[in-house]
């Protein structure tokens, strides 16, 4: 059962394309460039947890610089004006949007948590495995969207 509903990198790409065209790159001049995965030295991690019929997490990770650009784009302000709170809120909203969209592919009784944002370090999820990752760069800065599934998810879903 869980194999049929497991989102793929193509699903993440489709969601990301919508987010970029709506908020991060509405003019189509600053696209996300899919490529190698590499963890930023000083980054921001935002996640939402999925619980219920499906257990796991959606994680959005990028460099602080990319988070600053994302906040500026979301809030229509200059990057110099972006506060830490703006970055935190926008990264949380990004995770929320991706998580909400992913939820529609999962079993009906799946719930999305409020976002959790970690500044300066990467979020870790014990007893999970990464099931897909959309990695690459945005404005030459590392940017990644990944999904992590709880190892007991098959048992829960059954």
């Amino acid at each position: 059962m869980s194999e049929n509903v497991t989102p793929t990198v193509d699903d993440l790409r489709e969601i990301a394309d919508q987010v970029w065209s709506a908020y991060l790159d509405p003019e189509g001049i600053r696209p996300f460039q899919q490529g190698e995965s590499h963890e930023p030295a000083k980054g921001v991690s935002a996640s939402v947890s999925l619980t219920g019929a499906w257990h796991g997490h959606v994680l959005v990770t990028c460099s602080s610089e990319a988070a600053r650009h994302a906040a500026a784009a979301f809030l229509a302000m200059e990057t110099e004006e972006v506060s830490d709170e703006d970055m935190t809120d926008v990264m949380g909203e990004l995770a929320n949007i991706v998580g909400g969209n992913v939820k529609s592919m999962l079993p009906p009784a799946t719930l999305v948590s409020l976002p959790h944002v970690v500044n300066g370090a990467s979020n870790r999820f014990p007893t999970t495995r990464q099931i897909c990752e959309l990695a690459g760069t945005w404005l030459d800065e590392p940017f990644s969207i990944s999904m992590w599934q709880g190892r007991d998810a098959g048992v829960v879903a059954a």
Partner: protein, 120 residues
């Protein structure tokens, strides 16, 4: 017209406000609510002409707010803007009398399409 924007995300409230403007809906009075309870109370106190509401919010969900105001006889035009979209949610929204169901991320064109019947 007075428009109530209900979303627990400050960022999303700002984006909804900007998208309304980009969709050509300028010059309206805007009221904000940061959770479902605030939204419900603002509908009663402020008597908005349109409610644009998130689905998942603390205190009361958007659908609970809609059910509560309809149960009280209030027929204010009410629609959802949400990142979660399942057939069950859309059916519940429709059954409760929601006017539209906009999925995040959205564009000004989607706002124009969904809101033009109310905002002209």
């Amino acid at each position: 017209m007075k428009i109530l924007i209900a979303d627990d995300s400050r960022v999303m409230r700002q984006i909804v406000i900007r998208t309304l403007r980009q969709a050509g809906f300028d010059g309206h009075d805007l009221v904000e609510a940061a959770d479902g309870r605030q939204a419900h109370d603002a509908i009663v106190a402020e008597k908005p002409d349109l409610v644009v509401s998130d689905w998942n919010m603390p205190e009361m969900t958007g659908i609970q707010v809609l059910d509560a105001v309809r149960a009280a006889g209030n027929t204010v035009p009410f629609g959802f803007v949400t990142s979660e979209c399942t057939p069950e949610m859309q059916n519940a929204a429709e059954a409760a009398g929601a006017l539209f169901f906009i999925i995040k991320p959205f564009t000004p064109e989607r706002f124009k399409e969904a809101l033009s019947t109310v905002l002209g």
